[in-house]
């Protein structure tokens, strides 16, 4: 298992370096960006940039400095907000984003897997059609449509839940954002689970288990469940990436002070360093999540471990 983990880790490094390099050189090419010689910058920003990037040094040396900075967790100063570094902004917003994201992912699995299994077991019945249609709707309708509508119905018209804002530790403020964020993932997980279970149930080993006279619940729980979950687990990697994207909308609409909101504001304000730094951060996060998923996969399927 350890060998497998190490190999996976080594595979991730080149991809990450590629992303960092792409971000770095893209930023340098940006017209109107921090490295545009024609820019006249306010003195504080110019001073920050000089200190951070060592602009008088050759390009590769600057890149090296940037990498070294990354290793220390330093992503550079914000281009627009002169009192903050990118790293500071990320650490402010991260807890909010992670909480919402983790809650949404958990909800997606806890709700999606049973729904998908139910649909598979009652295949072609009305339950199946109902679940699958609702699931397709959940995937098709985008978050930025669902979010305001939910806020309108539950926040304004019914007044049950707060429309926007965030209070640390307040569950009420989490409900609508988490539901909005989770909706397409519940749908994906349900569809995935259904397809996976249907396929697993056709397997030779399930037929063997039935021929052994094992109780139907045992066949399902002990023999079918783990193989069924494998594609769902695989999905969690890309799902996490998509969750981060979704959080951009959710944080915007519900006014949550998360990383996504800072990112979008940064994009609108053309805060180059912020945007770059955050992309690198996001990329690192996603690569890490994919790695965790890979490891989980290896733990679940003994065949992969022994490779």
């Amino acid at each position: 298992m350890l060998g497998y983990a190490l190999r996976r880790l080594l595979g991730v490094v080149p991809t990450f370096l590629l992303i960092v390099a792409a971000a770095f050189f893209l930023m340098r090419a940006a017209p109107g960006g921090p490295f545009d010689a024609e820019q006249t910058l306010p003195p504080e920003i110019a001073a920050n940039l000089q200190a951070a990037y060592g602009l008088d040094q050759p390009v590769l040396a600057q890149f090296g400095r940037y990498l070294a900075g990354l290793a220390r967790g330093d992503l550079g100063p914000s281009f627009r907000m002169k009192d903050f570094t990118v790293a500071e902004l990320i650490s402010r917003g991260l807890p909010v984003t992670l909480t919402i994201g983790a809650a949404a992912l958990t909800l997606a699995v806890l709700l999606g897997v049973p729904l998908g299994m139910l649909a598979a077991l009652r295949r072609n019945g009305w339950v199946d059609h109902a679940v699958m249609s609702v699931a397709l709707a959940g995937i098709a309708v985008p978050g930025f449509v669902v979010a305001p509508v939910l806020a309108l119905v539950f926040g304004i018209r019914l007044g049950w839940l707060p429309v926007a804002g965030w209070e640390s530790g307040s569950v009420r403020h989490m409900v609508l954002p988490v539901i909005t964020l989770a909706l397409p993932f519940v749908a994906y997980v349900a569809r995935l689970t259904r397809g996976s279970l249907l396929e697993v149930l056709q397997s030779g080993y399930i037929r063997t288990a039935r021929a052994k006279g094992l109780d139907a619940r045992v066949v399902l729980g002990r023999h079918a469940l783990k193989p069924t979950l494998l594609p769902v687990i695989s999905f969690l990697g890309p799902a996490a990436a998509a969750l981060l994207t979704g959080s951009l909308v959710v944080e915007q609409v519900f006014g949550l002070p998360g990383v996504g909101r800072y990112f979008v504001q940064g994009a609108i304000n053309r805060d180059y360093t912020l945007v770059m730094g955050m992309v690198i951060f996001y990329a690192a996060l996603i690569l890490l999540l994919n790695l965790v998923v890979d490891l989980l996969y290896g733990w679940l399927d003994p065949r992969i471990r022994h490779e």
């Binding site: 080993y205 063997t208 021929a211 052994k212 006279g213 679940l300 399927d301």
Partner: protein, 327 residues
Amino acid sequence: MTAAPLLSIRDLSVDFVTPRGRVQAVREASLDVAAGECLAVVGESGSGKSQLFLACLGLLAARGTTRGSACFRGQELLGASPAALNTVRGTRIAMVFQDPMNALTPHLSIGRQLGEVLLDRGLASPQQAHERSLAALQGVGLADAEARLRQYPHELSGGQRQRVAIAMALMTRPELLIADEPTTALDVTVQAQVLQVLRRARRDGLAMVLITHDLGVVAGIADRVAIMYAGRIVEIAPVRELFAAPAHPYAAALLEAVPRLSEASVGRLRSIEGQPPAPGEIVQGCAFAPRCPDVTAICRREAPALRPGATRAVACHVPRIRPEPDS
């Protein structure tokens, strides 16, 4: 008068509903399996031989429906509830399947899969289950049984997995073992080993249904043979009698097609011209008529019924040997 049969199948039909219409996989099949005997069921792919026994055990794929009766020691199996079937499946009737590579659950250890038949039903304590699993593995000739119990299916070869499957089937000392082409997916040397295992199992009085398309296997192990064609049983006879003098033209053609090493000159390999009917095809009269060398007018009009005799039964209007009437 022989004792009551262990398994008694009467007029069993299996239909599948497909987008292109109904497909009849098995048409009114009837046969008996006596306690302790080995019945081979021979037929080409698509002859319905597997579906027949899958139906008995309630293991058909979702779109299959059955008609008729399959009685095991007086208990009707067709249409029985899963709970009722589970009192028979695995304990009194066991089944082994064709493809050993996919027959075992990949994420459970061998020991776990062997033990659960006993442990789930409270038939043994964990200690006893462990011992019986060891004994079962040794009984099928697997060396290093203790280590095997901890291994996972993917660590074993095809032949080893098939032997584990057989051991698993025999754990509860069933009365009947149905083996669906147990050696087809294995190479010849491994085939011989698996057949040896099956032969040994019979010594304790185990009755067996051996489904196969290989007549050579039949000769080595079976007492009686049932031959199936296009979903129907066309002949049932003791092995020696069939090999000496087949009654049904199809059976005769099958035997002729087997190349014999003893023949002095090897001429062309004899095969049966034509194809069996496609799965959904509606057949008028005898299904073998288009390919039959002895075909007559009545063959094309009327499907022959299985006529039982003293020792054998034939479904043919013009059998080469008329079965003696049952006295």
